[in-house]
Symmetry: C2
Subunit: 372 residues, 2 copies
């Protein structure tokens, strides 16, 4: 048994997921290292920010540098220098979201053109399992079909059907030593389809279960409503992963509904647009009001950026397109997101998660109101 | 007296320059932090690579964010987080090398348009001293006229004349507490003009003396010949600074001729083109032969990049335009350059500099021959 729930508080859970490369304390935010690096950061920095696990991207790593190169160099951990747990997605999200490169989907798999050189490629459940086996990740996600929220019910139904067919083939495919494999339920926000997908996927012996196909265009209310009734349908003794979520409000709300893991490019991408995440909302450092501001990005923050640098300096770096500016904002934004999540874990352990969430949401709301 | 020569070996010298923010051990390579940051690196990383002093750029800092902002934030050290010595150039090199923005030079100063917004600006010796005073650098360079090597003798002569006029005005201008000020000799490779300029500048009570207007288009042989007879004309009891030099061969050859300090964007700029500096020459990491190379950038190197990452990984990062790739190469290239210089210092102290230089040059030459 690789997952232990250590405390619960309402639907919220605190646990530990054991992997071949170390423990993941849940709730866990997973920084995204798309191409084998969390952008701008050294692995040791990512670790020092408090991350237990990072996410790698099977689609991109398959094309550049290729799983053969990574395998020859000793696998994804040795190649990238990150020796902690790594979760790899299936590549399906990229294939289905880069819609103009999508050629054909059938019950066997999906054919598409590479965004790198236009060459035709095919992914099947077996092929995705093989690539992830060679990458040597600790958690491998199943190939699924992730449609945008606004497609027809018919299309959602077809996504659920094929996702199930593929999961049944991938569940028993060869895997790297110690590699865990997670299944993914689809079905959008439709109760019948989502329930059907969950029931089908949890009927297969995966090490964890994910809700896919949410935060893809539906409203926040619909999303949270769906997580609220869908998460409890997933087995309590397995980790529950909400794919693609990383804003403060979203994190607190899905934890409250029983989710254990989540990932998003939001903290790192927001950094690269020149903005800092804070308890009171976002700061756009390009704003002229920060030009002479001697304070840190966020008062009381202990991150490496706030420990040594002013808003005025970060603004100067961002405006001058100095890479150090992106790096300082990346450090801060990941620290913020990881601390928020660690704080939630601690509050759950104390049985005080409701107050923790309410306080954090009140601060965020106050910040938004000030900005108006 | 702020400079002490601790050892000599032939014309080569090992010394210590004391500044308000710490000691500079010479020979010293000064990494360039044009806009207040050595590109991609935190100040603590620059320090850990072994740099004693960094260079800041008066031209760029004057326009962005402006010396008023930097002064208000506590000066360049507090603003950037680098608490060691900082040398600031005068801005003259940018004004005269960005030739299509140059409007008018007269005996009083120079008028030009800002590369940032095209606004008209004027620099005079007094103005440059004032900007550097407000920046609070430890070593402030004089405003000089630095022509390219291939201008007429007449133009070189005019540069020498005005550089002298300006030095006579700047030498007594107000300065920041403890700030040292260096004069600059011009005159290209012409013995008469260069000697005239040196004699004029060393007649003024500067804390150090620089050779400017070399490595600006003349041949390497002409340049080294000029340094060879010009450096000994500078006072032995003051630091001698060769402006704008940072390749391995050049560093060894100017040290051999009695130079104490030098700076160049070469190590950091080379990093951003995807190349590593090594004892056997440059490696272009984009080269396909590194695709599966598990070795470090340079065998036996102790830099943070070589300690943890393979050529194959760095190549992947460079090819994918991941900022971490530029950062790893910047770390390595600065480490290489700083170690080469520290090794020279140590060899001078032992009286073994000739052998050190000969061995290093032989390795470089062997590397170049292998590449052919």
């Amino acid at each position: 048994m690789s997952f232990t729930v250590e405390a619960t508080d309402g639907a919220a859970r605190a646990g530990v997921l054991r992997t071949a490369h170390g423990d993941i304390h849940t709730p866990a935010f997973m920084p995204v290292g798309t191409k084998g690096t969390v952008k701008t950061l050294l692995p040791a920095e990512v670790r020092s920010l408090g991350a237990d696990v990072i996410l790698g991207n099977t689609y991109h790593l398959h094309f550049r540098p290729g799983e053969d190169v990574i395998e020859e160099l000793g696998g994804l951990h040795a190649f990238t220098g990150w020796d902690g747990p790594i979760l790899t997605d299936s590549g399906g999200f990229q294939v289905f979201s880069l819609r103009d490169t999508l050629a054909r989907v059938d019950d066997d798999g999906v054919t598409f053109r590479s965004v790198y050189d236009g060459s035709e490629e095919r992914l099947t459940p077996e092929r995705v399992a093989e690539i992830q086996c060679r990458l040597g990740s600790d958690i491998a996600m199943c190939l699924d079909i992730c449609p945008p929220a606004d497609v027809s019910l018919r299309e959602h139904e077809e996504a659920v059907r094929r996702t199930q067919l593929w999961a049944e083939r991938q569940v028993d495919a060869p895997r790297a030593p110690g590699q865990l494999r997670f299944g993914i339920a689809q079905g959008g926000t439709d109760p019948t389809l989502r329930t059907r997908s969950i029931e089908g996927i949890i009927g297969l012996p995966f090490d964890g279960y994910a809700l896919g196909g949410l935060a893809v265009g539906e409203s926040r209310v619909e999303m949270l409503d769906t997580v609220g009734w869908a998460a409890p349908l997933l087995p309590a003794e397995r980790p529950r992963y909400f794919m693609g979520l990383g804003d403060a409000e979203g994190i607190l709300e899905v934890i409250a509904r029983g989710i254990d893991m989540f990932d998003c490019v939001l903290p790192t991408r927001t950094a690269r647009t020149g903005s800092a995440l804070t308890a009171r909302g976002r700061l756009n450092l390009r704003n002229a009001r920060f030009a002479r501001d001697p304070g840190p990005l966020e008062d009381g923050c202990g991150c490496p950026a706030c420990a040594g640098f002013s808003r005025a300096f970060v603004r100067h770096l961002v405006n001058q397109q100095e890479l150090l500016g992106l790096r300082l904002l990346t450090l801060h934004n990941l620290w913020f997101t990881l601390r928020l999540t660690a704080g939630a874990r601690e509050a759950i352990t104390r049985g005080a998660f409701d107050a923790y969430r309410a306080d954090a949401l009140a601060l965020l709301t106050a910040g938004l109101e000030e900005e108006r």
